[in-house]
């Protein structure tokens, strides 16, 4: 049968296949590079990075819950300089796209990081306005359409690379947020970030996380993520990158059929470090089984 084409294009950037890593779950690629061949996946998305190093939250930062986990890392990161000096050169050695996830407390913080990355070997910027685990910035920008619009505009004005706005699921109407991002010039949206959750240890009568609340991710959230991706994809014309509980090629395809042009694997890397590469193979197998030659034919076909 004819060649299978798994290429997808996000904001003019061609990915060899739609499988990405979800920010914060794959380090800067180094750690899981021991398990998967980074050349085989569409893009590596790095952990959120800020203008200066961030310490993150106190521990415990992670807790297991039914079919998923909570995390309240609090965006610990070594700062954008270390990223540029250590992580980007490492990623450049691979034939994969590099997406840098950017976080900040103020609009200026975001802009500073984006400007610093302007001439670096970065293909796309993912702007994280949806982390539920830090007090300032982040999610505050991602839960009000006007705030999202403003920060998108500010970042877009300075960004040399196309920008992906990463949306929070902790909102009443995801379409409103996707539209605000699009209206402000975002090149793509990605969703979902984690859903705010809580776990209590009934024997010690304490919170499982030092931060009390944390972000829920893993298979438990998949139906919510698929729904939001579907809604967002029908609300905007820019590409949608889908994530939330993806564990298998079947899950990835579910997001693609719902309207995602690419997908990202998060928490399930922890369960099975080979997930990303296995999904690439599984998508090809699905395409062969159903005689689909171009992956793009599948994007958003379930309406």
């Amino acid at each position: 049968m004819s060649e299978i084409n798994t290429k997808v294009t996000i904001a003019g950037v061609e990915l060899k296949n739609p499988v990405m890593t979800a920010s914060g779950t794959f380090g800067s690629g180094m750690e899981y590079g021991q398990f998967v061949d980074l050349n085989k996946i569409g893009a590596v998305v790095t952990k959120g990075v800020s203008n200066v190093p961030w310490e993150g939250n106190p521990t415990p930062r992670v807790a297991e819950v039914y079919g998923g986990m909570l995390n309240a890392i609090g965006l610990q990161n070594p700062g954008v300089d270390v990223l540029c000096e250590r992580d980007l050169p490492f990623l450049q050695r691979y034939d994969t796209r590099v997406v840098v996830n950017v976080c900040g407390k103020t609009t200026e913080d975001y802009v500073e990081v984006v400007e610093r990355l302007g001439d670096e070997p970065v293909d796309l910027l993912e702007i994280n306005v949806s982390c539920p685990n830090v007090k300032e910035g982040a999610i505050a920008f991602g839960q009000r359409a006007e705030a999202l619009y403003e920060i998108t505009k500010a970042v877009k004005a300075k960004a040399k690379q196309p920008i992906i706005m990463k949306l929070s699921p902790n909102v009443t109407d995801i379409t409103e947020m996707a539209k605000a991002a699009e209206a402000a010039g975002a090149d793509a949206v990605s969703l979902i970030n984690t859903i705010t959750g809580m776990k209590i240890d009934i024997h010690r009568r304490t919170f499982a996380l030092a931060n009390k609340t944390g972000g829920l991710s893993g298979p438990a959230i998949k139906p919510v993520a698929v729904r939001m991706v579907y809604q967002a994809a029908h609300a905007v014309k820019i590409p949608v990158i889908g994530m939330g509980g993806i564990a298998s090629a079947a899950d990835a395809i579910e997001f693609i059929l719902a309207g995602a042009s690419a997908v990202a694997v998060g928490a399930m890397n922890f369960h099975n470090p080979y997930t990303t590469e296995e999904i690439v193979q599984g998508i090809e197998a699905y395409m062969r089984k159903y005689g689909v030659t171009d992956l793009c034919e599948l994007v958003g076909v379930v309406e």
């Binding site: 380090g27 310490e55 079919g67 070594p78 369960h271």
Partner: protein, 262 residues
């Protein structure tokens, strides 16, 4: 480092709620004292692997021993496995004890104080084996609440001192009480156990001017350094994080006591 399916060679209950399991795995080749594996449950509700220390390694036979306590649903599940069952593991994880480097290399007169508390005792067994295998001496001091386990197995590798909280065996009190009672002195300390014990060991080592290596625990998600879930505070800026946080799963679990802020 990889995830693989291991086969259970044997499982024995060695004390109330405490189990010893030998598993056949290619990973044995890479395993050393102080390192750990992450063990996956078979339940779809529990997706994160459980970190469990290496208690013994049989490199020739390609097998690893783990000794664990039932602490929740995951370890309860493990305790039900029997010979021939399979289990998914991720490993070998962590830095382990750098036996040769630690004490300036091969000086046969170096003596170690090996302190294990509770479920922190198992990793010390492989340590005493590796330590004494290069002709060094050690004292093992093992602390328990009440019921003893593994203590007999330490006896082949030097003198063993016991502390129990209820005084039912050895010194009444903790491992440091036993150290003091028996006037034990050494050139280097290795310790694994509950946090209060590790804090006390850190303090003791500073007072006495003896270098101490302690093994830390924290909730983990990835086990491979990618998620930043399992950090501990460090006294110096950590080279990876660029802040005062080191990852226990990869930069540890063994740390020089003076380098961590616990």
């Amino acid at each position: 480092m990889r995830k693989e399916m291991a086969v259970i060679l044997s499982q024995t209950k060695i004390a109330s709620g405490i189990y010893s399991m030998w598993i056949k795995t290619e990973l044995a080749k890479e395993a050393g004292a102080g390192q750990f594996i992450a063990v996956y449950t078979k339940s779809d509700a529990m997706l994160l692997p459980r970190p469990i220390s290496i208690c013994e390694v049989d490199k020739a036979g390609g097998a690893i021993r783990i000794v664990y306590r039932i602490a929740g649903a995951g370890t309860a599940e493990f305790s039900g496995y029997t010979e021939g069952d399979t289990v998914s593991i991720l490993g070998i994880l962590g830095n382990g004890y750098d036996i040769d480097g630690i004490s300036g290399g091969g000086n046969p007169s170096e003596k170690a104080l090996i302190l294990g508390g509770g479920i922190g005792i198992p990793p010390m067994l492989e340590l005493v084996k590796e330590w004494t295998a290069i002709n060094r001496e050690c004292y093992s001091v093992l602390g328990y609440r009440d019921e003893l386990f593994l203590d007999k197995e330490f006896e082949a590798y030097g003198s063993v001192y016991i502390a129990t909280e209820d005084g039912s065996a050895g010194t009444k009190g903790n491992v440091l009480d036993a150290v003091r009672e028996n006037h034990l002195r050494a050139d280097v300390i290795f310790a694994c156990g509950p946090m209060p014990m590790l804090r006390a060991v850190k303090q003791y080592s500073e007072q006495e001017g003896i270098r101490a290596y302690i093994s830390l625990e924290e909730r983990m998600a990835c086990g491979v350094g990618a998620c930043l879930g399992c950090v501990c505070k460090t006294t110096k800026k950590d080279s990876h994080s660029n802040v005062n946080n080191a990852r226990i799963c990869t930069d540890g679990p063994v740390f020089l006591a003076e380098e961590v802020d616990i």
